[in-house]
């Protein structure tokens, strides 16, 4: 089997309440390497999982978590991007008809 032609990556990004993986989800995004779905901005109001751990329990594999970076001196009270960002993946095998 040629894995590169039949397996695609689905990516889930969860933004959590604190830096702990078992804290609650406050934001989310999905990207689908199979092309079967096209998740986009503002398309759902309910998060797919309640916590980061709940995504693990459903078979998502964590591959990146945001580092804890100390605030830059002088701008400690500024707010900007969400800090607690966790990237997950699932590898999905495409059907024979899709595998080209």
């Amino acid at each position: 089997m040629n894995l590169s032609s039949t397996v695609r990556q689905q990516v889930l990004v969860l933004y959590l309440h604190t830096s702990a993986l078992d804290s609650r989800v406050v934001g989310w995004a999905r990207y689908d390497g199979t092309g079967a779905t096209r998740p986009t901005t503002g398309d759902s109001d309910e998060p797919p999982y309640g916590t980061g751990v709940a995504a693990l329990e459903d078979g998502w594999r964590l591959f990146q978590a945001a580092q804890l970076v100390p605030p830059y001196p002088g701008v400690e009270q500024e707010t900007s991007f969400l800090k607690h960002e966790f990237f997950f993946e699932k590898l999905v095998e495409r059907g024979p008809a899709d595998s080209g």
Binding site: V26, W28, T41, G42, D45, Q77, L82
Partner: protein, 274 residues
């Protein structure tokens, strides 16, 4: 201008400072909503950046009449003062069955102002249904320092507002709010007319301040949003305190002693007296 002034209350302005936007649902009369579609089809004339409203929009013109509606005029005066300049105006159109949504973004550049803000007016001449998409707004995002579409990675945030509204709705937004045009999955063309205003006077106590010292003001300013992270959510309140001190002209305003506590430097004060 209208002789009927409908200024906002302190609690309403505090709500704007916390949420970053204000809804005026269905306040434009149906005949103007019909007229709007013709005006948009004919095309808008260009307005040079920074043109005062009376110069930008002739008396009796559609835009001028929109801004003279008492609810719109009162809210705008309360937020940017009596003689704002028109920064720019534009009609945003989302075609039927359009395949994509705008990424979540803040308009323009990172804005470093802490004692001033622009207001963007968004006017919807038609009813906006969920299928038509509407505008996505993230309440309480306006004080975060981000550059334009760098926030595009965030598809959904808990507590986001997916605007659906009756025809004739006007939404006024702080310039920094995170927003985006959602995908239009309907068969109807959707229009949104945007005008950005620059204040020309200090934005201090421009509203009806009769309720300035009521608990409602603090309650509005202390409001949390479900997408806020635990720690950063506290900084949001602190940043609102700073903005409210500026808007209210009250340098001692505080919520739960937060700003006062972290500014307390007895040793520095003693040194400066010596």
């Amino acid at each position: 201008m209208s002789t009927t002034r409908q200024l906002l209350s302190s609690a309403q302005v505090a709500r704007f400072v916390a949420h970053g936007f204000l809804h005026l649902d269905g306040i434009v009369p149906p005949e103007m909503n019909e007229e709007a579609l013709e005006v948009f089809a004919a095309g808008l004339h260009a307005v040079p950046y920074g043109t005062p409203v009376p110069k930008a929009f002739a008396e009796g013109s559609f835009a001028r009449r929109l801004l003279e509606l008492p609810a719109v005029a009162g809210a705008l005066e309360s937020l940017v003062g009596p003689d704002p300049a028109v920064d720019h105006h534009f009609v945003h159109t989302r075609e039927p069955r359009e395949g994509s949504a705008q990424p979540l973004h803040a308009d323009a550049l990172i804005d470093l102002r802490q004692d001033a803000f622009d207001v963007q007016l968004m006017y919807y001449p038609q009813e906006v249904t969920a299928e038509m998409g509407g505008t996505l707004i993230v309440p309480g995002s306006h004080l975060r320092r981000v550059n334009e579409s760098d926030t595009g990675r965030y598809q959904n945030l808990l507590g986001q507002t997916r605007l659906t509204c009756p025809a004739g709705t006007v939404v006024l937004l702080h310039h920094g709010i995170w927003h985006g045009g959602r995908r239009n999955d309907s068969d109807t063309v959707r229009h949104m007319y945007k005008i950005r205003f620059n204040p020309s006077v200090p934005q201090v106590r421009l509203w009806d301040t009769a309720d300035l010292d009521t608990p409602a003001v603090r309650e509005e300013l202390a409001h949390g949003f479900p997408w806020y992270e635990q720690a950063t959510g506290r900084l949001e309140i602190l940043n609102r305190i700073k903005l409210w001190r500026s808007l209210s002209g009250d340098p001692g305003f505080d919520i739960d002693h937060w700003a006062t506590r972290i500014a307390n430097r007895p040793a520095a004060a003693q040194r400066s007296k010596a």
